[in-house]
């Protein structure tokens, strides 16, 4: 399992939402958005369990023919977490359940997933990348919470 955290300065991406938002992988572009191919099914599965929406309606999908599960790029702003402090925990639970259901009866895949956190009052984004099995998703949750509490302290 591997978790990497990096900061991205993206002044042009001034966006906030009180929901979890599925971003296109090229969200810093102005047009031609492309989403991971898992996006639509994940959205349909999770919309009753989680406050989630698309950044834009997906029209083009990036299909990776690897056995790894490339999850959608998920965005959480600090204002969303103010509204619902349990959001990260719910989101990680939904991801775990979705992957379990999707790969029911098969070997559980390696998960590759990125979560972007934005401190609402700044242009700084933090990207948390996860690669590993289902069992490591609680560590992803911990890492996101660490990033969030650090952002809150820096504020």
């Amino acid at each position: 399992m591997e978790i990497t955290v990096k900061e991205i300065d993206a002044p042009q991406f001034d966006y906030s939402s009180e929901d979890v938002v599925i971003l296109p992988h090229n969200y810093q572009s102005d047009e031609g958005y492309e989403y991971h191919s898992t996006t639509i099914s994940f959205y349909k599965y999770s919309r009753d369990k989680l406050d989630i929406k698309y950044f834009t309606e997906p029209e083009m999908l990036v299909e990776q023919r690897s056995g790894d599960w490339f999850g959608p790029l998920l965005f959480i702003s600090s204002s969303a977490l103010l509204q619902n402090p349990e959001l990260v925990s719910i989101m990680c639970g939904v991801i775990a359940n979705y992957v379990t259901d999707f790969f029911k009866s098969s070997d559980k895949p390696n998960i590759r997933l990125k979560v972007i956190h934005k401190e609402t009052k700044t242009s700084k984004l933090t990207e948390i990348s996860y690669e590993g099995g289902l069992e490591g998703l609680d560590k992803l949750e911990e890492s996101i919470n660490k990033v969030v509490s650090k952002s809150n302290k820096d504020e």
């Binding site: 349909k44 029209e59 999908l61 009866s105």
Partner: protein, 245 residues
Amino acid sequence: MNEKRVSYDEIHEAYCEFIDSCGKFSFYTRSIETQRQKVAECDNYLVAIKQYKSQAIEKNNEPVANQFFHMQCMIHALRSSLLMWIELKECSFENAWTHLVDAQEYTAIALRLNDYEGVRNLEARLKGAEQSLFPGWKIYNSPGFVETVGKCSVCHAPFSECDHVENEIYMGSLCQRIDRNIVRVDHFAFVENPRDRRCIITKTSDDDGNEIDYFTWEKTGKKVNNEEGHHVEGRMFCIPTLDVL
């Protein structure tokens, strides 16, 4: 003319007997002729099972439609397994590999509905066949491309507009995105764990530039340019052909 009514239990009992009979022909020493005969029987049986499934769908009976879908996948798995042995004995190794992967995928889909000893035994037999017939098969092709969203295989609506989720089973069929158009190929990669294990390497080359068949390790008679590294030829993408509707 009186039509004979058959109960689900009777259909299931006959199906179990048929499945057992297929297993008796699914190994190397059975003759190609008897294996072909069994494949033909599977084809006929699939027609019958799909008719029963249609009746369940007409009655809006999803649990029974799904049970017939399970039977459909199991018969397909055994049919693909028989075809694998036939192709092996005819030295069509690429096709044998494809039938093995088909059999494994049908078994995995069948397991989504019912998990019991018989399916797990078939799964283990197929894994055993893979390990003994194609040992050390480690590199596969994994392309990445940009594509349109497509339609839902269950309801045929644009996939963004319906509620169906990929890989779930609805009223006796597996939900998939269909009618997708590839608009750009992004990359090709060699991976150990591909989405589609049919995407294999089929040819390579030796140090002297002789093209080598990856299955038989025989020279094909063709000379290739090795100046920029070893020549590799393979299947980059296979159009899905599993009968899961």
